[in-house]
C-alpha cells in the first residue's frame, strides 16, 4: 500500500503525512521538552500566528501558546477517537459477524438492537449519557477523568451499531459463499470457520469504515465540546474551539487553527477509508 509512496496522488501523500504526524505527536507528546501546555504567557495574549517570537502559531486570548495547546489537543482528540472506534468496532464486529453467521433469533435481536441504536441521533445519545453519568452536583462536580471516560464510552456506544451493521452485512455476503460450505463439509467447527474464512474476508470492509468512523467520532467530540459537555479546559481540539468561540472577534486564529486540525484529520481518515475501499474493490474484481 505504501509502495512507490512519492508517485501516489497528492491527497494520499498529504493524508499519510498528516496522520503520521498526529499519531507521532499523540504517542510521543510526553517526551517533548515543551512548555507545559496550560502555562499562561504574560507577554503575549491573542496574537495571531507568526506575530510574536517564541509562539509561532500565536497565543490564545487567555495567553496559551497555540502550538503546544494544539499538540496537546491532538493527543486527547486522537485518544478519544481511536479508543472508541477500536473498542466499539471490536464489539460491533463480534456481534455483527456472529449474528450474520448463526442467524435465527439471535440475529433478529441483534439487528433490531442495531437499528434502535441507529435511530437515536449520535449527539443526543452521547448528550444523554454524559448528562446522566458524568454530572456531579454543585459541591462535587464530576472530575475531568470521569468525564473523559464517560465521553469515550458514550462515543463507543455510538460506534457499535455502525460497524456492527457493516460487519453483519459483509458476513451475510461471505458466509453464503461455497467455500464456507466446503469447509463445513470437511468437518470444520463453526468458530474455526469464522476465524479462518469469515474474518479475513470481512476485515478490509470493517477497516475501511473504521477509518470513516474515526472522523465521525472526532467531529462528534468537537460538537459535544461546543455544547459544553466535552472534555473541559481546552484539552482537546473541540475543547479549544469551544473556548475560542467566545474570543472570535479578537483572536480568530483561536477558532480556525483547531478547526483546521479537525478538518485535516477527518479528511485524511476519510481519504484513507476510501483508498482501502477502492483497493478492496480492485481485489474483489480479481477473484
Amino acid at each position: 500500500m505504501f509502495k512507490n509512496f512519492w508517485k501516489k496522488p497528492l491527497g494520499f501523500k498529504f493524508a499519510t503525512l498528516w496522520l503520521f504526524f498526529v499519531v507521532f505527536i499523540t504517542v510521543t507528546y510526553d517526551l517533548f521538552p515543551f512548555v507545559k501546555w496550560d502555562r499562561i504567557s504574560d507577554m503575549s495574549q491573542g496574537d495571531g500566528p507568526f506575530k510574536v517570537p517564541g509562539h509561532f502559531l500565536g497565543t490564545s486570548y487567555d495567553g496559551l501558546d497555540m502550538f503546544t495547546a494544539l499538540m496537546h489537543g491532538a493527543r486527547m482528540s486522537t485518544f478519544v477517537a481511536v479508543v472508541s472506534v477500536v473498542v466499539g468496532g471490536g464489539i460491533g464486529s463480534i456481534l455483527g459477524i456472529t449474528a450474520a453467521y448463526y442467524r435465527g433469533t439471535y440475529d433478529k435481536i441483534m439487528s433490531s438492537m442495531f437499528n434502535m441504536m441507529l435511530a437515536i441521533p449520535n449527539l443526543v445519545m452521547s448528550l444523554a449519557l454524559i448528562s446522566v453519568l458524568a454530572n456531579g452536583n454543585n459541591s462535587h462536580p464530576a472530575t475531568n477523568t470521569r468525564r473523559l471516560i464517560v465521553l469515550t464510552i458514550s462515543l463507543t456506544i455510538v460506534i457499535i451499531p455502525i460497524l456492527g451493521r457493516i460487519a453483519r452485512s459483509s458476513t451475510l455476503q461471505w458466509s453464503s459463499r461455497e467455500f464456507v460450505l466446503a469447509s463445513k463439509s470437511i468437518g470444520t467447527k463453526n468458530l474455526q470457520i469464522i476465524k479462518s474464512h469469515i474474518v479475513p474476508n470481512v476485515a478490509p470492509a470493517i477497516l475501511a469504515i473504521g477509518f470513516f468512523a474515526v472522523g465521525v467520532v472526532m467531529i462528534a467530540e468537537g460538537s459535544l465540546s461546543i455544547l459544553g459537555i466535552g472534555i473541559p479546559g481546552g484539552a482537546s481540539w473541540g475543547s479549544l474551539l469551544a473556548i475560542g468561540r467566545a474570543n472570535l472577534e479578537y483572536a480568530p486564529h483561536e477558532v480556525y487553527l483547531p478547526v483546521l486540525c479537525i478538518a485535516f484529520t477527518v479528511i485524511s481518515t476519510n481519504y484513507f477509508g476510501d483508498y482501502i475501499r477502492a483497493n478492496l474493490d480492485k481485489r474483489e474484481s480479481k477473484i
Binding site: 461455497e178 467455500f179 466446503a182 470437511i186 468437518g187 474464512h197 474476508n201
Partner: protein, 324 residues
Amino acid sequence: MSNVLEVTNLSITFDTPRGNLRAVNDATIALEQGESIGVVGESGSGKTVLSRAIMGLLPGTATRTGSIKYMGKEISDLPEKELRELWGTGMAMIFQDPMTTLNPVRRIGSQLTESLTVRLKLSKKEAHEQAIELLRRVRIPDPEGMMRKFPYQLSGGMRQRIMIAIAVSCKPELLFADEPTTALDVTVQAQVLELLTELRKEFNMAMILVTHDLGVVAGHTDKIAVMYAGDVVEMAATRELFTNMKMPYTEALLKSIPRLETPTGTRLPVIEGRLPDPTKNEPGCPFANRCPYVADKCRAEKPPLKDTGNGHLYRCWFPIGGEK
C-alpha cells in the same frame, strides 16, 4: 460386502412461500464399499438436494423423512454436532464450481492443511508434508510452490484438483462429487474424472457422482440412478442401463448429447417442455407431458417402481423394449 450407505424412502420437502416444494420423493439407494453410483438428471430434478440431504448439509427450511444409514448407523436424525464428526473423515464433498469453493484471501497451503491439523490433529510440519504429498497425488506440478499460491492464480482445473485434494485429505469412506466437472473446460473434464476414479480405487472409497451428463458417468461409475422431478425413475448397473434402457426419459437424455457424426447445421436434439411444478402434486407420471410414447394411463396414474429381476429398476407403464 457391507453397505457403506443405505438410503431408504428418503423424501425432502422445502417449505416455501408458494407451498411445499417436493424436491426428492421416496429415493432408495444403497452403496457398497468402493462402489460408485452416478446420479443423473436435468437441472431441478433433485440430484443436488439428494446428495446434500444424505450429507446433512440442507438449510433449516427443509424437512426430511425416511432413513439414511451410514455404515449401518442411522444418521438422518443426528444433530449437526455429531454429524460434524463424520464430515471429512467419513463423508466428504466436492462442489460444482471450484471458482467459489476456495477462500480467495487464503493461500492454498493453509486451506489444505486446515482439515489435516483440525480433523486429524497432525502437527503443522506433518500436515505440510502430507499436504504436499496430496498435491502430488492429484498431479499438481511443483507442489511446494503451489502451497504458497492464492486461488486467483490458478486455473479452474487446478482449483478443482485442490478441492479434490482437500476432500480426500482425511480419507473419507464416501465421497460426494456434485457436478465436479460442470464448471470446467471439456479438455480438463476427462482428466479430473480420471483422477477421481483413480483416487476412488486407491482409497477404496464409495462415490456418488452427481451430474447432468450421461456421458460423464458412463465410464466412471458402477451404477446409475436417473432422476426426474424428484423421483428416481431408473436405476441399473451402468452396462445394463446403456444396453437395455427402459425409461423414455433416459433415452431422451442420451439422445440430447450432441454427436460428432451428425452433419454441420443439424439442430441439437432437446427434450421439449419443462419439469412439472414441484409445488403441485398432480396425478400421473411427471414425465407424461414430454414423453413421446405417452398414453392415457400415463396421465391418470403414476407408475410404481418396477424391477426387471436383475436389479434394474424403472418407473414406467410402457417401458422401451416392453416389460421384462
